[in-house]
């Protein structure tokens, strides 16, 4: 019995292609004269060739689409980044062209005048815009070339370009102090580069909001 067990180990070595010539000879010499081992060997090779006859099957139709749909959403940032990366010149040209069209460059150069996105209810004193105590501004406020003093409330975002948020100001000898609040985001842009970046960001925010909607 032991001798057959040894031969069975050799059979498996043979099937894995891990047998040397001498052992192989030994195995087949034994198989020729031993019926039990011959049957065992045939059963092994036949069961292997039988499972190898199994047909190939294909993934159901729409498999790839189903996988792609279930993938976690690609971050938008990456999508835009990819677009910029794949079209760098186009992106640069587009930004430049749009800035030219919208007169952004010339605006910065010539315009030192105070510009406020909203006039009513606000007090303009020299180059300072004041949100009075009893006023609530519920929209975004953009001030260019001027300072802002908030005594009332601004619920929207505040952007100050080439100016600053001040805490107090003396008007007609009376000291006005900032006691109000800005509930939106406050952005102060006081350099050309930052200002340009602000313009580009705003532009792209709008473009993408548009294309996403």
């Amino acid at each position: 019995m032991e001798i057959h067990k040894e031969k069975i180990i050799l059979m498996h070595q043979y099937l894995d292609g891990e047998i040397d010539k001498i052992k192989e000879m030994e195995l087949f010499t034994h198989i020729e004269k031993c019926e039990a081992c011959r049957n065992h060997f045939e059963e092994l090779t036949q069961s292997i060739s039988m499972i190898q006859s199994a047909e190939n099957i294909q993934a159901p139709s729409g498999f790839t689409n189903n996988v792609m749909r279930k993938l976690p959403k690609e971050k938008k940032r990456i999508k835009y980044k990819r677009w910029f990366q794949t079209h760098p010149i186009l992106t640069a040209a587009a930004i430049f062209f749009i800035l030219m069209l919208s007169g952004v460059f010339s605006q910065w150069n010539q315009d030192n005048e105070l510009v406020v996105s909203k006039q009513e209810d606000l007090i303009v004193q020299g180059d300072t815009v004041i949100v009075p105590e009893d006023v609530v501004v519920d929209e975004d406020l953009v001030i260019q070339n001027g300072d802002l003093l908030v005594m009332g409330v601004v619920d929207g975002d505040v952007t100050i370009i080439n100016g600053k948020l001040i805490n107090e100001k003396s008007i007609n000898g009376k000291l006005m102090a900032s006691a109000g609040e800005v509930n939106g985001e406050l952005q102060i842009v006081d350099r050309v580069f930052e200002w340009l970046w602000f313009q580009v960001k705003t532009l792209f925010k709008n473009v993408f909001a548009f294309s996403a909607g």
Binding site: D16, E43, I51, A54, N56, A59, P60, F63, R82
Partner: protein, 187 residues
């Protein structure tokens, strides 16, 4: 092909999700078939094969590009099928499970798409029989027998797919062949 896959993987790693669809396309039949052979039914196979591709995508950063992608993908798929088998109830039967789900046996699912001429029915019956016998092998032998004889990986590749020493692969394939022989010798 291997080179093209490598390039796609680099792009996926950079966040290009669309590049992944070509990878899924390329491996879908092999991975689905592997899952089907491990699990023995189409419904679970589709589920797990999809899960394997999703896991691979999520973990793509941990894939070492110096290694073979197919090996890594098979490893994920094999682990998922083994997990699924473990979670099954002990009295799980092939026919019972499918009857519950769709009122179809695996055989009728296999052949339900279009009526087959009689000799093809015979080959399909044999095919069904073979798959059933394979799916009744203990999972640790099953995976090795499938990888070796149906998917034709080398012993070394199987060792890296299953993350076990090559000596263990040899022992298991030896026992797997014996288990298969006992099942199929009277056919």
């Amino acid at each position: 092909m291997e080179q093209l896959i490598r390039e796609k993987i680099k792009r996926v790693k950079k966040g290009d999700q669309a590049a992944y669809s070509m990878i899924v396309d390329f491996y879908q039949d092999r991975i689905y078939q592997h899952c089907f052979r491990m699990l023995g039914n189409k419904h679970e196979a589709e589920d797990i094969a999809q899960e394997a591709f999703i896991r691979a995508y999520i973990n793509i950063d941990s894939f070492d590009e110096n290694r073979k992608f197919s090996t890594w993908l098979y490893r994920i798929a094999t682990n998922l099928t083994i997990d699924r088998i473990r979670k099954r109830k002990p009295d799980y039967y092939l026919d019972a499970e499918i009857k519950g789900a769709e009122g179809l046996t695996m055989y009728s699912q296999l052949s339900s798409n279009d009526p087959l001429p009689s000799e093809e029915v015979e080959s399909s019956e044999l095919n069904h029989y073979i798959h059933q016998e394979i799916s009744e092998l203990p999972p640790k032998y099953r995976s090795i027998i499938i990888l070796r004889y149906l998917e034709e990986f080398s012993l070394q590749e199987i060792a890296s797919i299953l993350d076990i020493p090559i000596g263990t692969v040899k022992t298991r394939i030896h026992r797997g062949r014996e288990a298969l022989r006992k099942r199929l010798r009277h056919v």
